[in-house]
């Protein structure tokens, strides 16, 4: 009997459990893989996949029984309380961290609220676009203050006040982003019922070369009809504990994310940016998050280097973690990311993975200057992903601080971190010099001695006469002479040109050999120069197009120049122009190897030598070419300048023509391909 009863109760318990399991709708807690990849960008600017940084954690669709309608903004307090600006319902909804409703307020006051900010004292600021005001509610949700358009003349008489987003610093000063206010962020102090302090963090206008040319061509009337070139209004902003303001602006390229100090000066210039940022938030480890409207979420470190980008747009697949229209982002104290999607009317919460936790730990230690300690989490990060650029960079710095310069060099090279590379290289070079200086001096002395001895012997016994004879004979060869002419040309361009024009001192063959030499040196220098000055990434080669580009450019310049010269009484023949141009590049052949060698031994501090060497070389070449054009055609200086400008113009026209021909031809080819395709289709 007892046993039976026990059985019954057991079955009942099981039944209750099954029912609970099957019928209780838990907040969709799918332990799932992410529907998106996570990428990071390395020092070379290449994008690399990495471990998932954040996983979708939960989705908040309802606060208690209240559902949201087109929410546009929200604030997350340190204790997890969420203030959601439920714009469609014209109210503020306050929720506990678990999604329980605390209260709602603002009904009847708000018209078209767009931005919300809540201080730690729970004073709530709402930017309302249609009400043209910023409303302030106290902790109980009672309206305590309304700030309308500032009456200060500084604000601008005709300028409307359409507040979209607002943040407030610890003194109560409001920073307000207003629609169509291109002057910048409106800064209002709470003193005397609202004092306009001025505009803050104005974006700069930018004009492309094309716009400048275009505007120069247009008449005043036409110019007036053009869209005026106004600076972009920031789209959203955030504030950190120290009162530093962060803004995001669409279409501002590198200025998409800005960190503005008290003076309104930008201190951040991220290389990787989003074209359509919607919101920005400050993290707990000197990191910054930017959310794109399309659902991408970017995490940057303190220096504006991209750590992660993940997420993405939901193209109707309805997968957890993808977004439709992101409007706001906030970071919890536990590093969770909260993303508000106004189309889906929900807040998606993402949770950092183990990998990201290690990284944040390292970020934190690193920012506190505890480099040695930071090695442990960095090693864990690298153990999971040894291509993770930020970790490599931090590791290089940590090793440098520890005095392990070889290690630092290795990691810095991986991360393309020039500063650390340069510093470590300096140390290594210094150590090498210290160790080998005596030996080096001895070797140099020995070599000098040897040369002196040989010279002495040569003087006495003429031991070098045989090799000298061979060399002289070699130098007498016609081609060698022609090639050697290069050195003469470099030093005496006017006479040199005379030689080319009237004395046949060079030939097409010698010019072509020099051209090949130029291409060869160019390629070697481009791909094998020192790490400090290298512009291409290690391991990537595109030699054919390099050579092609050089030859094409040369032919274009020479051809166009010849065309212009022939109709402008120039006396030069095509061959002479071609040869003199190539001989004009003689300094490149002579100096580049030196610069190349130099690039292998300099650090960032002595980079000047390399840069100066290049500038010197380029100027030399320019002078040679100028003189060549002048002398070969027998022009005056004025005529030469005119010819150079005409040549540039001709090059432009030729390029345009080539483009038009290309477009026309591709149309013809497409048409020709269409015919058989249609036939194939009709037949089968």
């Amino acid at each position: 009997m007892k046993k039976n009863l026990f059985k019954v109760s057991l079955i009942t318990v099981l039944l209750v459990m099954t029912i609970l399991v099957t019928s209780v709708c838990a907040p969709a807690k799918v332990k799932a893989d992410t529907p998106y990849k996570t990428y990071t960008v390395d020092g070379y600017g290449s994008t690399i996949e990495t471990q998932t940084a954040y996983l979708p954690y939960t989705t908040i669709t309802k606060i208690g029984e209240e559902s949201l309608k087109q929410p546009t903004d929200f604030t997350l307090l340190d204790d997890g309380t969420i203030y959601i600006l439920d714009s469609g319902n014209k109210r503020v909804v306050v929720s506990t961290p678990d999604g329980e409703l605390v209260k709602t307020f603002g009904e009847g006051t708000l018209k078209s609220p767009r931005g919300i900010f809540v201080t730690e004292e729970r004073i709530c600021y709402v930017a309302d676009r249609d009400a043209k005001a910023v409303f302030v509610f106290d902790a109980d949700g009672k309206l305590t203050n309304t700030y309308e358009k500032p009456d200060s003349p500084m604000y601008g008489e005709t300028q409307v006040f359409l507040p979209l987003k607002v943040v407030v610093n610890s003194f109560g000063t409001m920073y307000i982003v207003c629609e169509s206010n291109t002057n910048g962020i409106v800064e209002i102090s709470p003193v005397e019922g609202g004092t306009f302090l001025g505009y803050f963090g104005t974006n700069a206008t930018r004009a492309s070369l094309w716009t400048i040319i275009w505007r120069a061509i247009l008449t005043d009337e036409q110019r007036a009809k053009q869209l005026s070139n106004l600076p972009a209004t920031p789209d959203n902003l955030a504030i950190d504990d120290k009162g530093i303001i962060y803004t995001v602006t669409r279409g501002e390229k590198n200025g998409a994310l800005k960190r503005l100090n008290i003076a309104g000066v930008n201190m951040l210039n991220p290389k990787t940016y989003e074209d359509l940022p919607a919101a920005v938030a400050v993290g707990n480890h000197d990191n910054v998050f930017v959310a794109a409207q399309s659902g991408y979420i970017y995490e940057y470190n303190n220096d504006g280097d991209l750590l992660f980008v993940f997420g993405g747009a939901d193209d109707g697949q309805q997968r957890i973690g993808l977004s439709t229209k992101v409007e706001a982002v906030q970071i919890g104290t536990d590093d969770k990311i909260y993303v508000l999607d106004s189309d889906k009317a929900q807040i998606q919460v993402y949770k950092p993975t183990e990998f990201t936790d290690h990284l944040h730990n390292a970020l934190y230690l690193f920012s506190k200057g505890r480099y040695t300690e930071s090695k442990e989490p960095l090693n864990r990060v690298l153990g999971m992903n040894n291509l993770f650029d930020y970790a490599n960079m931090a590791m290089a710095k940590a090793l440098y601080k520890e005095g392990d310069y070889d290690g630092a060099l290795k990691y810095a090279k991986l991360a393309k971190d020039l500063d650390t590379y340069s510093d470590s290289f300096w140390e290594i070079r210094a150590a090498w010099l210290k160790k080998n200086l005596t030996a080096a001096v001895l070797i140099i002395a020995a070599v000098a001695g040897l040369i002196a001895v040989i010279r002495y012997l040569d003087k006495k016994k003429n031991i070098l006469s045989a090799p000298r004879k061979v060399l002289a004979r070699f130098k007498e060869k016609k081609l060698v002479k022609q090639l050697n002419y290069m050195f003469y040309f470099m030093r005496h361009p006017i006479d040199g040109c005379y030689g080319i024009r009237n004395q046949d001192r060079v030939s097409l063959l010698s010019s072509n050999i020099l051209l090949m030499l130029i291409i060869l040196i160019y390629i070697i220098n481009k791909y094998f120069c020192g790490f400090i000055v290298k512009t291409v990434r290690e391991g990537s080669y595109d030699v054919l197009s390099d050579a092609g580009m050089i030859i094409l450019a040369l032919l274009l310049v020479v051809g166009c120049n010849y065309l212009m010269c022939t109709i402008n009484d120039g006396e030069g023949k095509l061959k002479h122009i071609y040869c003199s141009f190539i001989y004009g590049f003689a300094p490149y052949i002579c100096l580049t190897p030196v610069i190349f060698l130099l690039s292998h031994v300099v650090t960032d501090n002595e980079r000047f030598f390399v840069d100066f060497g290049r500038l010197f070389m380029i100027s030399w070449i320019a002078v040679l070419i100028f003189i060549a054009i002048k002398e070969i055609n027998n022009y005056t200086v004025k005529e030469t300048i005119k010819i150079i400008l005409l040549t540039a113009f001709t090059i432009l026209i030729v390029c345009l023509l080539a483009f038009i021909i290309y477009v026309l031809w591709s149309q013809v080819i497409d048409f020709l391909q269409q015919i058989p395709r249609e036939v194939v289709y009709k037949l089968g």
Binding site: V16, Y296, G311, E354, G383
Partner: protein, 731 residues
């Protein structure tokens, strides 16, 4: 004493009642169906077996399957009208067959057996009935055969019975009994089993209209032959950031009514190659839950007439319909079996009874895969990047042996000449960078003696257009345009696919050459997880043709070689020694409520299953627990050199693989998981329960139970305490 027990029992019973009431009243639903809204079909008992009876209404062809023991039943139609559905929906809800018709460019026209002018000729027989159905308006028809077998119901439409007599209307899709097992809102607690990834559940609770779309996915993946210029949203216009959804590996779906203790698992037996699984909970158009297979007969496609994608194109209908019988088998389950673990067990029995899933050896191994070499761009052409040579593998094996890890299983990728992206592999010629042919053969054969199988990896589908001529023997889409697969990487930007006939020729040739060296283990990929329609030299081939061809190829290979297959579709499961890359997740569709390891339960004990690579998991501990829960063997992707060497290659997604950083992890995983595997060796999973959202209990047929706690806090279950992110094993 007795009194106390009685009181407790009474209390519990009341609690239970309250809970069920609560469950019923959750939301706006009337828990008890309104009497006046019930339609009253005229049933006739047509067949019965030991457990179930089948009733049918001859006029409407509506079915009821009843469990004779418990009285629980499942219907093929809605017996309750909420008064909200329009005529078309109501018609579909009460139909045995629902068609979509194609007329010109329009493929949305619906026809069903309830609303339209239909002639039906029903013939009863001893196990069921057959009905000849003809839509007189549209001049299309088919014969529906329903049979009750020992395990359940078979619904079938023979291919030759499908008629399209008119010129105006052609059949687009056919759904058979789309409302089998339907329920209204949360009136019948339970769930729909979704074959997404490993498996997922959609609970039959009130969804309150949250979802505008349900789960809909083609069985055996998308058909690239039709995939029309689908615009991928790329990060910065270059990088693919949204992962593709998991493919439907097994042609199954199911519905369980957990309170009624009745469930079915449906297996799409014929026509699966061109069918999709539709799992739609309440709120998606109507407030009824349903799951069914939708068979595709004809599809629309776009025929561009110029190279320029914006210029002219035509919308066309496939000239011929697909030719296959359509058959769905419903396996009914009752009482303790009426849940997803029961469904998985039923599916395993179904497969093993047909001789599928017959691995000779299911013992534990740690899978350690190696990457041989890849290529990066160089001054002229490409240069070799060697990651793991034959000698390196020997060293790594020796080191693992020292660490006590000897149960190993290896797939060697990128062993072939030209590296891991050089396909197809025509000869047994290793890349000179990793060693000679004899050396590799020697490694494989000596390892075999030690009990380590090394499978050589071959993607039998792809061809590298930078290395091979792709003018002939490559796949063209239905619109006769060459199919190109984007890699979104820099060295090799595109791959083409070779035709199934060419695949057979190449891989069987390779097998022959390998057998000469006594090598008989091949890991086959590409063809195992892709099915497509294509055209080649003027002929159209369907997915049925492709599947037939691949099945023959794999059968032929299997005769002399040992095969393991990479994420294979169910029709190939009879020909493998091991399943590679089992997904342990779903595609994270919003509509899915929870993950369940359906496929893992099917395989556990009858087929060794290896996970996806541990390397790339960000949450290592959670993934480890997943391995414990599902009985999946761990996989590692290992290189001798640092993965930073790979940064300029197409393999730059392998960002972490160096042996030195993984040796300890492999050792730890191998020791712990081998110990668990030993306890469950040869056993199958008897039941699998989600005790609450964080604790999972797995019971094996040999009595061993494992509790896994995924939560961040310590938790108790059945009197045991389980540490956070940990597990315990008993029995």
């Amino acid at each position: 004493m007795g009194k106390t027990v009685k009181r407790i029992t009474a209390l519990l019973v009341m609690l239970c009642l309250a809970a069920s009431l609560f469950a019923g009243m959750n939301g706006k639903t009337p828990g008890i169906l309104a009497e006046e809204n019930k339609t009253e079909p005229a049933y006739k008992d047509v067949a019965g077996n030991d457990r179930y009876s089948l009733k049918v209404d001859e006029k409407t062809l509506q079915l009821v399957v009843t469990d004779k023991v418990t009285g629980a039943y499942m219907e093929s139609f809605t017996s309750y009208d909420d008064g909200l559905a329009n005529k078309t929906w109501w018609g579909a809800m009460n139909s045995a067959v629902v068609l979509t018709l194609i007329s010109g460019n329009d493929d949305t026209k619906q026809a069903n057996t309830f609303n339209d002018n239909v002639t039906k000729k029903v013939t009863l027989n001893k196990d069921g009935f057959s009905a000849v159905i003809y839509w007189t308006t549209y001049k299309v028809g088919l014969t529906l055969e329903v049979t009750l077998t020992q395990e359940g119901l078979v619904v079938r439409v023979p291919d030759e019975s499908i008629k399209e007599d008119g010129d105006k209307y052609k059949i687009g899709t056919i759904s058979l009994y789309p409302y089998m097992g339907t329920s209204y809102l949360d009136s019948k607690p339970g769930y729909i089993l979704v074959p997404d990834g490993n498996g997922a559940l959609i609970y039959l609770d009130n969804k309150e209209g949250r979802y505008s779309a349900g789960y809909s996915a083609p069985i055996y993946g998308q058909d690239i032959g039709f995939d029309e210029s689908k615009v991928e949203t790329l990060l910065w216009d270059r990088y693919k950031i949204v992962n593709s959804a998991e493919q439907v590996l097994a042609p199954v779906f199911g519905i369980a009514h957990t309170e009624d203790r009745i469930a079915y698992l449906a297996v799409v037996e014929d026509g699966a190659m061109r069918a999709s699984i539709e799992c739609l909970p309440n709120g998606v158009n109507i407030d009824y839950n349903r799951a069914f297979a939708k068979f595709v007969e004809r599809k629309l496609y776009t025929q561009p007439t110029s190279n320029n994608s914006t210029a002219g194109s035509l919308h066309l209908t496939e000239s011929d319909r697909s030719h296959s019988d359509l058959q769905v088998r419903y396996i009914f389950l009752s009482e303790d079996e009426a849940n997803y673990a029961g469904m998985a067990n039923a599916y395993r029995n179904y497969l093993t009874a047909r001789g599928i899933l017959n691995a000779p050896d299911t013992s534990y191994n740690t899978r350690v895969d190696f990457l041989g070499s890849d290529r990066k761009e160089w001054v002229i052409g490409t240069s070799r990047v060697v990651m793991t040579t034959v000698d390196d593998i020997k060293d790594i094996y020796a080191d693992l042996e020292k660490r006590g890890v000897t149960d190993l299983f290896t797939v060697y990728k990128g062993w072939q000449k030209g590296g891991v992206n050089n396909f197809p592999i025509k000869n047994f010629k290793p890349d000179p960078g990793i060693g000679t042919a004899n050396k590799l053969a020697d490694l494989i054969n000596t390892s075999k003696e030690k009990g380590i199988s090394i499978y050589l990896y071959d993607d039998a589908l792809r061809i590298n257009p930078k290395e091979y001529n792709v003018t002939f023997n490559t796949v063209k889409k239905v619109n006769k345009r060459k199919f190109e697969e984007e890699t979104y990487r820099s060295v090799y930007e595109k791959f083409n696919w070779i035709t199934p006939l060419r695949t057979a020729e190449v891989i069987l040739g390779l097998e022959k050459k390998m057998l000469k060296k006594d090598i008989d283990s091949i890991a086959v990929a590409g063809i195992t997880s892709n099915l497509f329609s294509y055209t080649y030299s003027g002929k159209n081939y369907t997915r049925y043709d492709t599947a037939d061809s691949y099945l023959k190829t794999v059968e032929e290979l299997d005769k002399d070689a040992k095969l393991c297959l990479e994420q294979p579709f169910a029709y190939l499961w009879g020909h493998m020694e091991a399943f590679l890359d089992m997904p342990l997740y779903t595609s994270s569709y919003i509509v899915e409520d929870t993950f369940v390891p359906f496929l893992s339960i099917v395989f556990k004990g009858v087929m060794p299953v290896y996970s996806e690579y541990v390397n790339f998991e960000a949450n290592k501990q959670e993934f480890f627990l997943k391995l414990v829960e599902t009985g999946t063997f761990p996989s590692f992707y290992i290189t001798k050199e640092s993965s930073s060497e790979l940064i300029y290659t197409n393999s730059n997604n392998i960002y972490s693989s160096q042996y030195d950083s993984y040796s300890e992890t492999i050792e730890a995983y191998a020791k712990e998981l081998a110990a668990i595997a030993e306890r469950t060796e040869g056993a199958i999973v008897k039941s699998h329960e989600l005790l609450d959202s964080n604790i999972t209990k797995v019971t094996y047929s040999n009595g061993v139970t494992i509790y896994i706690n995924y939560g961040e806090n310590e938790a108790a279950a059945d009197g045991y305490t389980i540490a956070p992110m940990s597990y315990i094993i008993n029995g």
